[in-house]
């Protein structure tokens, strides 16, 4: 290896025969060390070219996501602002009835927190676990701002009876340490009972597991649809003469290059009840004027629009693999007596599998995280888990919950990404 790289240096010194030591370069360095040094330098130079971008992506992308994920298990909204009662929880194990010391600690914390104007943050944190308690904290805070007289238990109960609620105390105990798994439990429709055990939430409140299942199921369905629609197209493009296939390729690339919102808008226009497709069906007499189909603002809308939007991501990898398949294999199979179906099943299809794997993984990864299209055309039944994350971010402002859901979704996507890299290789990702 070393000699192959710089044969002249080695030969010169060897022929010079000054001493019998290791081979050296012309300036007297041992050859191995010189080689390692030059390789290190080449390595460093390559890395330095990548470094600016890597730093940029880490700071603007990796770190923000990591910070966001931290919120899914770390929330010091209660523990940082209510130190005394948090300390009491730490000293007394689960199931201890709150004694007068606990009530005093709670009252002191409430007063201090109200003075520091952090009572809203505290209430919000508890509100995640016990809905409706935010206003209890803030209104109590307003009333105790100027101090509170013992006995604290009676004083607090006089302000609001709900202070005795064991569920509230359970929630406060949970929140008394900044680290919590509650948000992950909640994203799996589970909660902690008063005794600390994990149970399912009431059936009427179970939404997340169903949403995860729906996201998976719709993504699988859309992947299958893009495969069914994309395979014939890719095959046609790959087998047509270049001139024709280049023309038809435009029909695939144009949607690929067209704005996502334009395509979503088009589907709204087409699928509305007073839209083009329904008009066409009525005009052709397939359906009556009064029985127009509801094809949008429901799951159907999500499926149709997402299949259309993701179809090029299936066609392009399939096409690039099919192009390389030698047609003489098919001819050979036919000449040996195979029917066209057998030829397809045993000879042609297996050779398209790399493209199919690439396309299916890509479409599935993209579908699982889709947000815009379901939000616009999905209605209530076509929403995916991304829409729930957005809802917690913008409407309920339960950011820790959004982070926990995002963490679960991200974990799934990263596993798929890892698979994609193993099977397809990221380097083989092609565009257009």
């Amino acid at each position: 290896m070393a000699q192959a790289l710089d044969p002249h240096a080695a030969i010169v010194t060897a022929a010079g025969g000054v001493d019998d030591g290791p081979l050296t370069t012309a300036d007297g360095q041992p050859l191995g060390r010189a080689l390692r040094r030059s390789q290190r330098r080449a390595k460093r130079r390559a890395f330095l070219l990548v470094l600016p971008l890597l730093a940029f992506v880490v700071i603007t992308f990796v770190v923000p996501i990591a910070q966001m994920l931290q919120r899914s298990f770390y929330n010091d909204g209660f523990s940082a602002n209510m130190p005394e009662i948090s300390a009491w929880f730490a000293e007394n194990p689960h199931g201890t009835e709150p004694d007068e010391a606990a009530w005093a600690a709670l009252a002191n914390d409430l007063v201090a927190s109200a003075e520091a104007r952090s009572i809203g943050v505290v209430g919000t944190r508890i509100n995640y676990d016990v809905p409706g308690t935010r206003s209890q904290f803030t209104s109590t805070g307003r009333k105790v701002r100027d101090g509170i007289e013992p006995p604290y238990r009676e004083a607090l109960l006089e302000i609001d009876e709900d202070w005795a609620d064991p569920q509230l105390w359970g929630a406060m105990r949970e929140a008394s340490t900044p680290f919590t798994t509650n948000f992950y439990l909640a994203s799996l429709d589970r909660t902690r009972a008063d005794d600390g055990s994990v149970v399912m939430v009431r059936e009427s409140q179970q939404v997340y597991v169903m949403l995860f299942q729906r996201t998976l199921w719709l993504s699988l369905l859309i992947t299958a649809m893009t495969f069914l629609l994309g395979f014939p197209i890719a095959h046609l493009l790959a087998t047509l003469p270049m001139r024709k296939s280049n023309l038809l390729m435009i029909l695939v690339l144009l949607p690929f290059w067209t704005s996502l919102l334009v395509r979503t808008t088009s589907w709204i226009v087409l699928l509305q009840q007073q839209g083009v497709v329904n008009d066409l069906l009525v005009w052709m007499g397939v359906i009556g004027g009064s029985e127009r189909l509801q094809m949008i603002y429901n799951q159907t809308g999500s499926i149709i629009a997402m299949t259309h939007i993701l179809l090029p991501f299936m066609i392009l990898p399939l096409y690039s693999v099919m192009r390389t398949i030698n047609p003489s294999y098919v001819r050979a199979a036919r000449s040996l007596g195979a029917t066209s179906w057998t030829t397809f099943r045993r000879i042609y299809f297996p050779q398209t599998l790399p493209g199919l794997g690439a396309g299916a993984l890509l479409v599935f990864i993209l579908a699982v995280g889709y947000y815009i299209t379901p939000a616009l055309v999905g209605g209530a039944s076509g929403q995916l888990i991304s829409n729930m994350i957005a809802m917690h971010m913008t409407d309920t402002l339960n950011w820790s919950m959004a982070a926990a859901l995002a963490a679960l979704l991200l974990a799934g996507v990263l596993i798929l990404y890892w698979l994609y890299d193993r099977i397809v290789g990221i380097d083989n990702l092609k565009l257009g």
Partner: protein, 317 residues
């Protein structure tokens, strides 16, 4: 794809079925994009073809939705169309402002993404590059991670960028990036980077490294080699990477929704609002313009691809 001479009747039937199926799928692909173009000239505020449009009555068609793109948000849309009317439209019309913002943000984020991305692609394509696979995975990930997750992370980070310092143990509190042009540009550059990396790396795969060595042996220093030899050869790839980055920025909604302020209203964000609230056919006029825009971009990229193949002596497939 011709049918072989030995095809059986059943195969012939299947062949024609197959062609019909393919035609239908092509219609599925392209019709939604084409159907909005005539509809954007609808004289009525409907989203379907009216009686008059179907009979090609000129009265059924009008430019009113295109006109409304100019006038929407103007202070005095009904005045005479003199210089002050046009300056009113330029300064106040919402779609015009959105277009300006989209172009500004797209331009700077493309420059950033293409500059950094091309450098990195050069490094990544060197055989000595350490941790190549892992670094590549990180650089491509903005394309793979669901946008809503990216946008959520950016929302917190850009609201208080100095939280990065707090995180590593220093204290810090500084201005916001959220709601500023810089913030949106950085976010869009991040999202455009994977496309630059993929396109430029693909161009570099076919690049003959011995050309660089030849230049060096003839006495060119690395800089000269890069600008005189490498750059001209990979330029088509760089430009199409830049176009991809630009389109990504131009079409991006989620990050803009989360981190942009009212001043950074872009076209997609304006469309999003339009679709969510009172959907008006003006959206179709915007959509039509965007379709024409994407046709122009597609043509450019295709021409670049052919040019790149010609330069590198790759015979067209």
């Amino acid at each position: 794809m011709a049918l072989p001479n030995y095809a059986s009747p059943l195969e012939r039937v299947w062949h024609w079925t197959y062609l019909v199926l393919c035609t239908l799928i092509f219609i599925f692909l392209i019709a939604p994009i084409l159907v909005i173009i005539p509809l954007s000239f609808n004289a009525e505020p409907y989203f379907t073809f009216t009686e008059k449009m179907r009979s090609f009555d000129p009265e059924g068609y009008s430019m009113r939705w295109y006109d409304s793109l100019l006038t929407f948000g103007m202070q005095a849309p009904d005045g005479p169309r003199d210089a002050s009317w046009w300056s009113d439209a330029w300064n106040n019309a919402k779609w015009v402002n959105a277009a300006k913002n989209s172009l500004i943000i797209g331009f700077f984020s493309t420059i950033l993404a293409t500059g950094l991305g091309t450098l990195a692609a050069l490094g990544l394509s060197r055989p000595e590059m350490p941790f190549r696979r892992g670094i590549m995975a990180i650089l491509i990930s903005p394309m793979i991670v669901p946008l809503i997750i990216t946008a959520t992370g950016m929302f917190f980070f850009y609201s208080n960028p100095c939280s990065l310092l707090t995180w590593i143990g220093l204290s810090g509190n500084c201005g916001r990036l959220a709601g500023t042009y810089l913030g949106v540009i950085l976010a869009h550059a991040t999202l455009g980077i994977p496309f630059v990396i993929i396109t430029v790396t693909a161009t570099l795969v076919g690049f003959d490294q011995s050309l660089n060595r030849a230049a060096a042996s003839l006495g060119a220093n690395p800089r000269t080699t890069f600008f005189r030899v490498t750059m001209p050869l990979i330029l088509p790839g760089v430009i199409s990477g830049a176009l991809f980055a630009f389109v990504t920025s131009f079409d991006e909604v989620v990050a803009v929704l989360f981190i942009a302020g009212p001043d950074q209203q872009t076209i997609p964000r304006q469309m999003w609002n339009g679709i969510r609230e009172q959907i008006s056919p003006a959206i179709l006029a915007v959509a039509t313009l965007l379709v024409l825009f994407s046709i122009a971009l597609l043509t450019t990229v295709e021409l670049l691809r052919r040019r790149s193949e010609r330069i590198r002596g790759v015979t067209p497939r």
